[in-house]
Amino acid sequence: MTMMKRMSMIFRAKANKAIDRAEDPRETLDYSYQRQLELLQKVRRGVADVATSRKRVELQIAQMQQQGDKLKGQAQKALGSGREDLAREALTRRSGLDQQLSDLHAQHASLQGEEEKLTLASQRLQAKVESFRTRKETIKATYTAAEAQTRINEAFSGISEEMGDVGLAVQRAEDKTAQMQARAGAIDELIASGALDDASGQPNDDISRELDALSAGSDVESELASMKAEIGAGSAPKQLEGQADPQSAEHATSSEHQREER
């Protein structure tokens, strides 16, 4: 027997087993209808859960992209200050982020696909449940228990196949979402630990600190340079090193004098 045929027999066997359990088939109609409504709720919750996961991944993608931009800016700044080592470090970290990003993009696509599938499944199920409700009322109003049997079997086997399918789709979506939640949790932890800066505007990572130190250093240098210019005494610091040089001592003293005079 082919796979296709076997699958449909398995579905049908499940439906038959369920209906055989009922004493009055008409009661099965109401009971089944309740189960259908429950399943419909479950699918809708499933859609909402997948959407939540998708949004979480979107947020992480945005955070990582921001972090990537920041690292690129740092690399440029470092290179501008002649610190190729620091620029290389920033770019290396950025390429690490790129790998995480492409993984997140793949997760996002998968969640999006799951969300679309479940949304369509819930629409289909809703339409079928509505049909079933109408048919159920007709059957209950028109037929005796004995007469109803065939009609009930027809209505029931159509809907139960759908329920089996949708039930499995929800299970699969839940499994997938749970796997991705675990991975998303791991990335959130990475971001929180500072291994990936959360780009919240706190420049507290080591590259930022070095760049800050670099610019603080150059601030000192430029201040010194402007002071020297004011004094108009040329390159004093070099001469300060050699104390044996009388000229430099003299020069230092004259600097002191000038300051006192002001």
Binding site: M3, I10, S32
Partner: protein, 95 residues
Amino acid sequence: MMIVRIMAEGQFEIDDEQLGRLNVLDRSVEAAIEQGDEPEFCSALEALLKAVRQEGRPVPDDALVDSDLILPPADASLEEVRGLLGDEGLIPDPI
């Protein structure tokens, strides 16, 4: 005329003349499952589902009909399909 369901996708009406072609494609899927050949299974399943989508007319959402043939979802793994075909089956009980 037959009703074919692709799980997680919906039902299709297919003319009987197509059955021969679908059976050939279905046998390739079965062979891949027997051999445990995952890549072969994926491409064979894809070909089978593609044929159903191409030749089939979608059954309206509100129709309550059971299917003559049922196919696994497009992203199913070989292991999952084995589970679906197993005695216990992965399919949840309808009620």
